[in-house]
Every structure is written in C-alpha cells, then in structure tokens.
Amino acid sequence: MGESIRIELPLTQEKVASLKAGDSVLLNGVLYTGRDAAHKKMVEALERGEELPFDVRDQVIYFVGPAPPKPGQVIGSAGPTTSGRMDAYSPKLIERGLTGMIGKGLRSHEVIDSMKKHGAVYFGAIGGTGALLAKRIVSAEVVAYPELGPEAIRKLEVKDFPVMVVIDKDGNNLYETGKAQYRKE
C-alpha cells in the first residue's frame, strides 16, 4: 500500500475536498461515536426542533459500539459496525454539516447523494480489527445518552487512526471500482 495521508480533525470542507476514494488516511484529533440507537435519538431530537447533543459541523462520526474496557484500558475493542443501518439517519446529519463517517460496508444512494450535495466523506475502517483500532484511541468520554451503554455517544481522541476513503465527496466509490477491477466472469 502507498503512503498514508495524515489528517488533523476537525474535517473541514477543504480537507474533504482533498480526499479521494482509495486514499489511505490516518486520522488525528477528536471524533464522535454513534450507532443505531444514538442515531435514532439524534434524528428524533432534530424532528422535535431540539439541538443535537454535540455540534456536528465539520465532525466525524464513527459507527462503533465498543467492548467494555479492561482495567487500565481507555476503551475496549472498537472496530466499525455495518454502516447500512445508519443510512436512514445519516443524510439528516450531513445536512447539518457532518463531514465524515467511519464504518464498514455499503451505503445507500440517498446517503451518497447527500454527501455529494453537502460535501462529506465515507471512510472504511477494517471491520473486525477492534483490538488493533482500540490502541489508536487515546481517550474516550461518554458525552450523551449514557443510558445506551455501548451505544452511548462517546467523544474519542484518536492518534493515527487508520481508515480508507471508500466514498469521496464526488461519489467515487471504492466498493464499486475495486470490485470491478478484480471481477472475473
């Protein structure tokens, strides 16, 4: 694999524009976690006209429900979950300024259209490498919905967190191009 691009968070529009599908990236700084239940709550809050528990502008959400930390660990194993389950909610957050998502697996057309329209990137982390990824997380703090346990929203500080640009803001999609490149009939 080629050189990785090191990105400092927050993920501004300028940085979004510089990333292309297939780029290997090391993320540094603050990101937030959220999966099914937290997304549902956030979108319900928006529908009621309430504020989100954190300002999503220029932020990255990592779709993860970590394992509990062992004594001495800041977080337990923390690999990505299947992103498709967040498809119903992601466009609403992208509209509000969210610029990055980290997960694994396919996204819907609605999500990709919204990413193109507002400028956002979908990163893939390697699913099932939770032990390795947890070591790149230097701090973790629950900032919303503690009642959701592993699904609570956490603010994470990451150092050289390895991800791949799967879908860029122009809609280029590594899942499609990669598959087409190696498909044999």
Binding site: M1, P68, K70, G76, T81, T82, L106, G127, A180, Y182
Partner: protein
C-alpha cells in the same frame, strides 16, 4: 458404573470458552490469512490481511476480544446418552457460564430480550443452544460467538429440484455478491443443502465448525466446495470489499436427505473473526448405576 458431571463444571468450562473464543483466533484461520496474503492480487487487500494478522496477535497477547462484536453466543452441545448431569439444569448452567464469561472477560453484551422491545439483557444471555444426543458418556461443548454483521447477510432459498446443482451454486454466489463488504470479508461460506427448511440452516451453521478450509470428506462434495469458492472469489469483492481476488477463505458444504419435492439451500456467512472453541468434559465415575 455411571459417569456424571456436575453443572458447576459445565458453567466453568463455558465461561472459559467464551473468553478464549473471543481472544484467540484459531491457527487454522490464521494460516488461511497467510496463505491468502500470498495469493491476493490487490495491494489494499494484502494490507487488510496484514492488519488482520496483527489484530489477532494483539487480541491473543493482551487478552482482549479480536472484534468488539463478541456476538450472540451460539453453543453446540453433544450429550452422551449414558451421561448423568447432576446439580441442576444443563441449560441454566450453560447460560450462567455465558453471563460469567461475558462479564468477567470484558466482552460486549449484545443480546436484547425481545426482538420488538429491544432491551439489552445485560449479560449476553440467553445463548443460542443446539443439543445433540450422541452415543457415549461424555459432554462436548463448542462455543461459537457469531457477530451480526455476517449473520445478517445469510439467506435461505427453497429451490425447485429442477434448479439442480447449478441453481444451488448460483444462489450461494448471489448471496455473497449482495453482501459485498458488509460481512467483513474474507469470509467463510457455510452452505447447507437438503433436509427441511430449518435443517438446511442448521447444517450451514454447523459446517462453520470445521477447521477453515478442511474439505468435505466426500470428494464429490469437496469438488462442489472448490467450484463455489472459485466463483465467489471471481466476484472481485476482496478483503473488506475494497476489491480483490480473495473474497472467501473457504466454502464448507453439508448435505442431508430431503423430500422428493424439496431442495432447500441455506447460506450462513462467517466473517474472518471465525471463532469457535470446544471442550470435551469426561465427568467422574460414580459408584451407582445399573
């Protein structure tokens, strides 16, 4: 003489197996990673294999789960028909072991009590337990945690017998194709053909307990496994769905007699976190018996 096992011994064994299954990836799977790293043509795909190998090493050395989705706890139990289980209920003993393993082992609890209400049970119970009564007087327990990412990509089709082998193969290949990167490829494809609807599904799941890539003992069926593997790898999905020539590590096929009008096919996809650990408990000889 009669052999008997106390439920406490079963609980302790299950507790340990839950942890070991989640911390220690089998050598069979690891050597498949290494084998495929040599074969894979995509540089990104090779990178994925390197990370998987590193991840397994960290999990093993630091005694942490290789994947945060420590799964539903699927357990296969083979009870010898001459064995006596004493001190309480076998099912309760197993579930107690799961609760202890997931709590003391810092494993994630992912079970919800009701599929509609969806409230977490807090200790990953109940386990999904499959019992088989077998000749003998021992107890074999296999703990096989299964994450939802790959489990959700499984499928069943009640084929028409006229669709034949080609119809079966096509259904398996299509199922893997549609799953794409979701089930964390490289995967192991478990296939059950024949029997009734639930029998086919059970066979597909049970086939995943084989050593990764161990071919079916019957040459005819091993050939079908190889053919499905070839076609699955031609899909181009690759490790993690980033594109590549190795989407699956192996295909495991099991078959069973079926009805004259039936041809059920079940596909159970296993992610690369192919976890299963087993133990055979022998119990102790007691004086009583016939």
């Amino acid at each position: 003489m009669l052999r008997s096992i106390h439920v406490d011994e079963i609980t302790k064994a299950v507790e340990r197996l839950c942890m070991e299954a989640n911390y220690d990836l089998g050598e069979d799977v690891l050597s498949k990673f290494k084998e495929n790293l040599e074969k894979e043509e995509s540089p990104l795909g090779c990178e994925v294999y390197e990370r998987l190998i590193e991840n397994a090493k960290i999990a093993h050395e630091e005694r942490v789960p290789m994947c945060q989705d420590t799964g539903m706890t699927v357990i296969f139990v083979e009870v010898g028909q001459d064995l006596h289980i004493q001190g309480g209920s076998l099912e309760e003993a197993i579930n107690k072991g799961v609760a202890l393993g997931y709590t003391n082992g810092y494993l994630r609890k992912s079970m919800v009590r009701d599929p509609f209400e969806r409230e977490n049970t807090g200790d990953n119970t109940p386990a999904i337990i499959h019992y088989e009564v077998v000749p003998g007087d021992t107890l074999k327990i296999t703990v096989a945690p299964k994450g939802a990412g790959s489990e959700n990509m499984g499928a069943l089709k009640m084929c028409k017998p006229s669709e034949g082998l080609e119809g079966v193969i096509q259904f398996v290949v299509d199922t893997v194709d549609q799953a794409g990167g979701n089930p964390c490829p490289p995967i192991i494809v478990g296939v059950g053909v024949g029997g009734s609807m639930e029998k086919a599904t059970y066979l597909a799941k049970k086939s995943l307990l084989r050593q990764a890539g161990e071919p079916h003992k019957e040459e005819r069926l091993a050939d079908i496994e190889r053919e499905i593997l070839r076609r699955v790898n031609n899909l181009g999905i690759g490790p993690q769905g980033f594109g590549g020539t190795t989407t699956a590590l192996a295909v495991h096929l099991e078959v069973y007699p079926t009805h004259i009008a039936s041809l059920p096919v079940a596909v159970n996809i296993q992610c690369h976190a192919a976890r299963h650990k087993e133990i055979v408990l022998k119990g102790t000889l007691t004086g009583e018996g016939e």
